[in-house]
């Protein structure tokens, strides 16, 4: 049966656009939820995320506290909601930094001459060779811990990966038939770059970016574990996760829910990224 399946795929090819899948729809719904949690968290919250109540610490999930309470008696659900903005901001801006730097490096390598390509290649290798965590440690001890530095650290350590992909795209697009055709038509370098090379080389970036956001959130949470992430008491998923880890055997809810948010966000961004990629692929 699967043989047939295989050959069928071979015949059909991949160009047929697929209708949106259930997964994509669910992902979009979750994105909407995240958006509300980011812009207007109070609409979703059931309590003040910062209000402490030591006497009500470590309460398991209940009707009053959907996700239970943490070690200071704060409502975990409201904190998770509150943390959305910070966590996503870290994810989004870290990805933005990584992409921006990746664009710069990849652009220089992909569009500059051979020498520039070689030099940037080495620079990239240096960034790659630097253990990401060390980069993060150094940046954080340099500028102090906090979401901003965690963001920069994560952004920097993802940059070489992006740079590599962008360079590859640029090289492919640069030598493509349509770029050549544009040259034959007599278009100038700048126009070809602006109209053809950049838009086509950068189209996959949207997909990459969506995939990067989730990974960046995970990365930032690892920094929080090492005590280098967000500043207390601001709730951030990674920080909540690492704080709750201490109590994993006694209060599972402290880790499960922020962890779930991280996983869901990553999955969501990946699913959306895939959907975008599929659409882009179909268009090509």
């Amino acid at each position: 049966m699967s043989d047939l399946e295989l050959s069928n795929r071979a015949v059909r090819g991949r160009a047929l656009p697929r209708p949106p899948r259930a997964g994509t729809v669910a992902a979009l719904a979750f994105v909407a939820f995240l958006a509300v949690a980011t812009v207007a968290p109070w609409l979703l919250q059931t309590a003040d995320p910062l209000a402490i109540a030591p006497r009500e610490a470590f309460e398991p999930p209940s009707a009053a506290h959907w996700f239970g309470t943490d070690e200071s008696g704060r409502d975990v659900y409201s904190r998770v909601i509150e943390g959305t903005a910070t966590s996503l901001l870290i994810g989004v801006s870290a990805t933005a930094i990584g992409l921006a730097l990746g664009l710069l490096l990849g652009g220089l390598a992909g569009l500059g001459g051979r020498v520039l390509d070689f030099v940037v290649g080495r620079v990239n290798e240096v960034l790659f060779a630097f253990p990401g965590i060390l980069l993060a440690l150094l940046i954080i001890v340099l500028w102090g811990p906090g979401p901003v530095t965690a963001t920069i650290a994560v952004g920097l350590s993802t940059a070489p990966g992006y740079a590599r992909i962008i360079r590859g795209e640029l090289v492919t697009v640069r030598s493509s038939g349509y770029v050549e055709a544009a040259r034959v038509l007599g278009h100038g370098r700048a126009r070809v770059l602006a109209r053809h090379i950049l838009p086509n080389a950068l189209a996959p970036m949207v997909v990459l970016a969506t995939l990067g956001i989730g990974q960046a959130v995970v990365w930032a949470s690892a920094l929080s574990y090492l005590g280098l992430g967000a500043q207390p008491p601001a709730p951030e998923w990674g920080a909540m996760l690492s704080a709750g880890r201490t109590y994993i055997t006694t209060a599972w809810w402290l880790t499960v829910f922020p962890g779930l948010m991280i996983v869901l966000t990553t999955i969501t961004t990946t699913v959306l990224g895939r959907a975008l990629a599929a659409r882009d692929g179909a268009r090509r």
Binding site: S7, N8, G177, L185, G186, H187, R195, A203, R284
Partner: protein
């Protein structure tokens, strides 16, 4: 050997109605009630336009139509075994053993990551439980059989390291590995240059001589006429005509068959449309002829004006590439000239430097030596900035039209962009005019090239090249990706445009028929040099160089039973 190796009655294949929840469309029948019989030691050819269901039929014979495919047949006997309700296991016993299949896309039908020895050895390993060593030894024998150069070395190569012809032969070798009584070859010669094509057809012939039944699939009647005993003509999934080759090709009864035959350019003289035979497209005297007459007349005067400069001229061009450790001399000391309103055809085997010349002409590459002149003025030596304003004087049409379109742009945008490049008004009217010129419906402007047929795409590419009202058109294999009938339409279009606008054309193809049909003068290339150059008719009828002669000899020609011309 009484029973035929392949007997099919009422074969139908439908797609789409596969019960998948989404896409619950009605089933589309792409093969409808096909009957087929292949006797041992004979060759049956299925011909038909692109999309007529040839490949689907072939794959259905080995149970490879796909799980989405609904296959029905009153009779389906492959290698003497009834396969109507075969399980996957049973099918596997047929594949490779009872029937060998050579897929249509030879260039990508070998796993690029495995050596061809492994690929050829696979059936032996799977069906005969041969050891790797034994399979490899047999693979070498098979490679010898198919005439692969240096089989002992090639056996450890991977498809990426082989030329198209070598890949095709390796693929045939793998189909022949178990010496199956039935060999199905789906378009085994497309995209091959004529020499290789001849050798591949020879292989099929040998297989048939050894007693195998051969089912050949092609849209190229010239190829079919060469080896098939019987021809089956498919149209939209149904058999419209069937019979002995000579009969079908000599006296086609069905219009589809006739159209197929007429589309073969070889037999059609220069200046006669391939699709509209009744009306020769060059009814009026060509512009250039007129000019020539005029100039001839003026020679009677006292001061002969200097002969008009050729539209495109190459003088002593050389170009080499550093490849790995060595240097490839892609073009060596080549000179040519293309007059206004005339076509220079460039032929030659694969890798002989044709494309390189096109790139030099388009100033996409700079020659190492020599010069390209456009309308008598320097072209290649100019800095790109100075060339840019004159770029609209020379247009280009490539083999891969699709790849030459920005994948993000609609047809309209592509054409507008070309108008802008030529400093013309990029209005909707201008776009419509361009589309009209190439006979593409104007509503295509809003569409993406993906939503167009191959022939339409090629027309858009031509329209784009025309946007700047060029004097010169460089066409590099503009029709080799198209099937015969579509090819015919595109060639007619080019002809018409040349007539209307006095275009000079540098026309590149490895297909002698096409070249002959299109060219006024012909240059034959080999290893970067022009070995013969002259008037088209002269070159084809009285080749001087052995390379040319060999090309003409190997080139398949439509042979008819009575040898008479096929058009009214």
């Amino acid at each position: 050997m009484s029973a035929p190796v392949l007997e099919v009655r009422g074969l139908s294949v439908a797609f789409g109605g596969d019960g998948r929840r989404r896409g619950a469309r009605d089933a589309v029948e792409v093969v409808r009630g096909v009957d087929l019989t292949v006797e041992a030691g004979t060759c049956v050819a299925i011909v038909g336009e692109s999309g007529s269901g040839k490949s689907v039929t072939a794959r259905a014979l080995l149970g490879l139509a796909g799980s989405g495919a609904l296959v029905r047949a009153d009779r389906l006997t492959v290698a003497w075994a009834d396969r109507r309700d075969a399980s996957e296991r049973e099918w596997r016993r047929t594949r490779g053993v009872g029937a060998g299949l050579v897929l249509q896309d030879a260039l990508v039908s070998l796993d690029p990551l495995r050596t061809i020895g492994r690929e050829i050895g696979d059936p032996l390993r799977i069906h005969r439980r041969m050891s790797h060593a034994a399979a490899r030894a047999r693979a070498i024998e098979l490679l010898e059989l198919v005439g692969m150069p240096h089989p002992t070395i090639t056996v450890d190569r991977r498809s990426g390291e082989l030329s198209g012809g070598m890949r095709q032969r390796a693929l045939i070798a793998s189909a022949l590995a178990l010496d199956p009584p039935l060999l199905i070859a789906d378009e085994p010669t497309t995209a091959l240059d004529v020499g290789v094509q001849a050798r591949v057809l020879g292989l099929l012939d040998e297989a048939r001589a050894r007693g195998a039944g051969v089912l050949l699939i092609s849209h190229d009647l010239a190829v079919v006429s060469r080896i098939a005993d019987t021809v089956i003509v498919l149209d939209r999934g149904a058999v419209v005509e069937t019979g002995p080759t000579a009969e079908i090709l000599g006296a086609p009864r069905h219009p589809v068959t006739r159209a197929l035959i007429e589309a073969v350019p070889t037999e059609v003289p220069r200046g006669v449309g391939l699709t509209t035979r009744d009306r020769p497209v060059r009814s009026a005297q060509p512009v250039v002829e007129a000019a020539r007459t005029a100039s001839a007349a003026s020679t009677t005067g006292r001061t002969p004006p200097p002969p008009p400069a050729p539209a495109l001229e190459g003088i002593g061009l050389s170009k080499s590439f550093r490849v790995g450790a060595g240097t490839t001399h892609a073009v060596q000391d080549v000179s040519f000239r293309v007059e206004r309103g005339r076509t220079l055809g460039l032929v030659g085997e694969s890798g002989s430097g044709k494309t390189t010349i096109a790139r030099l002409a388009l100033a996409l590459a700079a020659p190492d030596a020599g010069e390209v002149r456009l309308a008598g003025e320097p072209w290649s030596p100019l800095p790109e900035r100075d060339r840019r304003t004159r770029r609209s004087r020379i247009g280009a049409v490539y083999q891969d039209a699709f790849g030459s379109f920005d994948p993000r742009w609609s047809v309209g945008r592509i054409l507008r962009d070309a108008l802008v490049a030529a400093r013309r008004d990029p209005s909707d009217a201008a776009v419509t005019a361009l589309l009209d010129q190439v006979h593409v419906p104007t509503d295509a402007a809003a569409r993406h090239p993906l939503a167009l047929s191959g022939g339409q795409r090629q027309r858009i590419a031509i329209a784009r090249a025309l946007a700047g009202s060029p004097d010169v058109l460089v066409c590099d294999e503009p029709v080799s990706a198209l099937d015969a009938t579509v090819q015919a339409r595109v060639l007619d279009l080019l002809d018409e445009l040349q007539r209307d606008h006095g275009l000079a054309m540098l026309f590149i193809s490895h297909d002698l028929g096409v070249i002959r049909h299109m060219s006024d003068t012909v240059a034959v290339m080999r290893s970067g040099r022009i070995v013969e150059h002259g008037d088209a008719e002269r070159v084809f009828t009285a080749p001087e160089h052995e390379v040319t002669a060999a090309l003409i000899r190997d080139s398949p020609r439509l042979a008819r039973g009575d040898g008479s011309a096929g058009f009214r």
